[in-house]
């Protein structure tokens, strides 16, 4: 294999744009704009960040496809779609940041968002264990900082610490698992690993490695029983950070996860179409999925804090996404990608609404949303679209995400096998989920405002961001083929 550095550089132009944007934002902030108010500095950094993201998007769209640099990176449809999705979610997160409280170091905040995005972009395309790990850690370390960025609030520091401790542990597990896989197969290339594993079959050492990898990804994806950090982080982190952690990070993580499992470890997949299928990682993922669905949905019922509610609903959605990963072996990655991308849109939007409401006071409790329809009809309408999309009501995109994932899962042996039961469980629990989303919407659309609640003025950029997110949700719900055609 002769290293093709030109090809590599061309493939990495999106990442380069992002890093360049981050450096420019930092440089300008330190030099020319040092004396300006923090609001102005934030605006400047956000605009630079947005431009960098747009440039990266153009590079992804017009850039090369196929394996890059001898297969270290793979720019297949899933990678391209995930990259575009991550960039869109980043752009929306930057829009949310315009409405949130200005952080103390605005340019650093934006730069770290862009670093994390760079990590996501590489995660989307990595086809080699080392690159996968580095990309994941670049993204994770940036996210820890973002979670703790509000240094004036102890909750933010608590969130960052918890996230860091759990995430660091997960990274250790992942690295251990990877090293075992390397020891077994003598390679860090996914395709070579797959070839070796087909010859070897399921050995005890491979089982240990699989458990390590699954635990690590369980942490990263906030799947039960590895979800403990999620509610605290969603509650404590600054709102745009929480939106980012809940959306773009999920999408990139699931793409990496699916790529590692299906092309890489397919030989050890096992079978969930029948009850007595071959052992492998599929049954384990199925169990994690079922536990996440049950725990997420039932725990969300009891929440009074809207962010914790979103966190538990995120755990439930992680369960459904894992179902999509299970089905990806037969139906391809399109179903879970559609689910993750549209879930990200709705979550960014929901946090965006919270960020705007927060401008007029605290917005932690569900009851803080009371009377939103009087205080700002636009916010209430957008929140309704986001929540109903999360609940899976047509014609919103969340519905089709669920539909396509469940349809794919039922291809694995119908309702006669465990995969089918899992899909049935997920469908049944969606009725439960509608309850807690409606509890939120009841406050926003039915309850009268409290006596001292004032009208909320929505800043122009935030309004544009929310309407864009809501518009995309409706668009992808009515015409899902727009996204599916990426594959």
């Amino acid at each position: 294999m002769s290293p093709d550095y030109t090809g590599l550089f061309q493939a990495l132009r999106p990442e380069t744009s992002l890093l360049f944007g981050a450096l420019v934002a930092l440089g300008l902030d330190l030099s020319l704009f040092r004396r300006h108010t923090s609001g102005e500095r934030l605006n400047l950094a956000l605009w630079i960040g947005a431009l960098a993201v747009l440039a990266a998007g153009a590079h992804v769209w017009f850039g090369p496809h196929g394996p890059i640099f001898g297969g270290v990176l793979i720019l297949d449809p899933l990678a391209v779609a995930t990259r575009l999705g991550v960039l869109a979610l980043t752009l929306l997160t930057l829009g949310v940041a315009t409405a949130a409280r200005t952080p103390r170091n605005p340019a650093e905040y934006v730069a770290i968002i862009l670093f994390a995005t760079t990590g996501f972009m590489l995660m989307a395309a990595a086809q080699q264990l080392l690159l996968a790990f580095l990309a994941l850690e670049l993204a994770s370390l940036s996210l820890y900082v973002l979670a703790g960025f509000d240094k004036t609030r102890p909750e933010s520091a608590e969130a960052a610490l918890k996230y860091f401790l759990f995430g660091g542990m997960a990274a250790a597990f992942l690295l251990f698992g990877f090293s075992l896989i390397y020891g077994l197969t003598g390679s860090i290339e996914l395709l070579e690993i797959a070839r070796q594993l087909t010859l070897q079959g399921l050995s005890p050492l491979l089982v240990v490695a699989l458990v390590m990898v699954l635990v690590a990804f369980g942490f990263k994806a906030a799947a039960a029983p590895f979800h403990l950090w999620a509610p605290d982080v969603y509650e404590g982190a600054p709102t745009p950070s929480a939106a980012f952690i809940a959306s773009a990070s999920k999408l990139a993580g699931f793409t990496l996860f699916a790529r590692l499992l299906w092309p890489g470890l397919r030989a050890a997949a096992g079978n969930v179409s029948t009850l007595h299928g071959a052992p492998g990682w599929l049954p384990a993922v199925a169990v994690i999925s079922a536990v996440s669905l049950l725990l997420g949905n039932f725990a969300a019922l009891a929440q009074t804090n809207v962010r914790r509610l979103l966190a538990y609903s995120a755990i439930a959605h992680a369960g459904a996404l894992l179902l999509g990963v299970i089905a990806a072996g037969r139906s391809g990655p399109a179903p879970f990608f559609f689910y993750a991308a549209t879930y990200g849109l709705a979550t960014v939007g929901a946090f965006g609404v919270l960020a705007v409401v927060e401008r007029t006071g605290s917005c932690q409790k569900i009851t803080d949303l009371a009377g939103l329809h009087r205080r700002s009809p636009l916010l209430a309408g957008c929140l309704a679209i986001f929540m109903l999309s999360l609940a899976g009501i047509p014609p919103l995109a969340g519905f089709f995400g669920k539909f396509t994932v469940f349809a794919a899962a039922l291809q694995l042996g119908g309702l006669a096998g465990p995969a089918g039961w899992l899909a049935f469980l997920a469908i049944a629990l969606s009725a439960l989920a509608l309850y807690y989303y409606l509890i939120v919407l009841k406050q926003a659309l039915v309850a009268p405002p409290t006596a001292n609640a004032s009208r909320i003025v929505v800043p122009t950029l935030a309004r544009f961001t929310l309407m864009a997110a809501a518009g995309l949700i409706v668009l992808f719900g009515v015409a899902p083929s727009l996204l599916l055609d990426l594959f």
Binding site: A334, H373, L388, I393, P394, P395, F399, F400, F403, T404, F406, A407, L410, Q411, G414, L415, G420, A423, F424, I427, A428, S430, A431, L434, Y435, L438, K442, L445, V446, P480, S481, L484
Partner: protein, 505 residues
Amino acid sequence: MNALPCTIYLSFVGALLALAAGMRSAATARVVALLTALTGFGVALSAAAHFVPGPGLQNLINLPWIPDLGIRYHLAADGISLTLILLTGIAAVAGILFSWNIEERAGEFFALFLTLIGGVYGVFLSADAFTLFVFYEIAIVPKYFLIANWGSTNREYGAMKLVLYSFAGSALVLAGLLWAYAAGVAHGFAPSFALHDLATAATHFTRGEQLGMFALVFLGFAVLAGLFPFHTWAPTGHVAAPTAASMLLAGVVMKLGAYGCLRVAMPLFPVGLEYWQPVIAWLAIIGIIYAGLVALVQDDFKFVIGYSSVSHMGFVLLGLAVANAQAVSGAVLQMFSHGVIAGLLFAVVGRMVYERTHTRKLADLRALPLHRLMPFAALTFVLAGLASMGLPGFSGFPAELTILIGTWKTSPLWATFAAVGVLVAAAFTLRVIQVSFFGSSDRTSLPADAAAHPLPPITWAERAGAMLLIAATVYVGLKPDVLLQWINPALQSPLFQAALRGGTP
């Protein structure tokens, strides 16, 4: 005929317009809403005038929607759809007329109302299971906000219960449909959600699969049709809802469930239908009698009507379960008939009586000489009550009679029990007419406070709405052939014939 899909789009566009108009004034919003509903009804009427009855669905529009999954946007109509489209048009117009007094957040009210109507039109026109399901779910969420925002007694509880029952039912339907879709693909058929393709694939399914799929899909839809013991959402929801929403819930939304059973569950899985037939029939009979007996002892006027709806919908489900041509055509006729009559009953109770006297307690109403204070309301209610009891001359008579005759052909025992239900219905209807409107035997003087605070007069909107509904029930009662000439040929289509023969080709 080809303009029928416009009923859907008109309703959704009207919803947006009403929302915008509501920002100016409530009056504009209600005019916009009424015009939208009238146009939709007009389209339905003109389609009916040009309709040529025949077996099978007549295509209206058929476009690829999501080619990767074989989903098409496929709308089509036959005599059964047309009957229910007409019912929806009537219910929409009447519902808006009876909501003429909504002032608070009127734009949102009519927007939600028209969204619900649009979803209902969509369900009745769908020939693709995915399309049907999407419209079915679009119709669910507006109900919550209509009830929770503008409802009365215990409205948040009633709204949530109703929506969760509906959504849980639709979850069962989704599971069943996806299972059938996946099984079809597994049997080597091209992926498709078209009802026709699913039915073809289903003939290759194992008996176990057919039984399971039928149970999921039929039960899921039947929850919304008020099948005992899953009917409890209906009385609480109807009571909590604002008048127009109760009219629509009882009048049209419960029919969505029955229509889903008839259009999807029965033709797709005839083997399942044959197996589950006795269970459904007995549950329907229990529903008829039980709900009737409960209605007999209610002391809330609206609960009486709410339970009567469950009882009358039991006849629809019985007719469907019996599954011979006569019983099924009677069931469709009963869907229309009950839609009109329930609308009328809820209009009198919720709008004419409750919003003037501010009580629904029968004990309180007994003290008022309502037949003298509100002669128009009394007349309307008596007519609606007679129609509801199934007296000749009203639409309830041919509908229930056809169902009973059809049932008798299959099982005289079931028909006998169902006939008991007719007697119970007569009993609770007569009781509530007597107690509510003619309770005060005092013929000479009004109570002092009633004279001091005369009830507001019945408005033109209420009169118009009531006349429309009465005209519909009397017209169909005197000339049921106007609907049966559409319904009977529709049942000759191969899909329905398979269902009526219990799966034997």
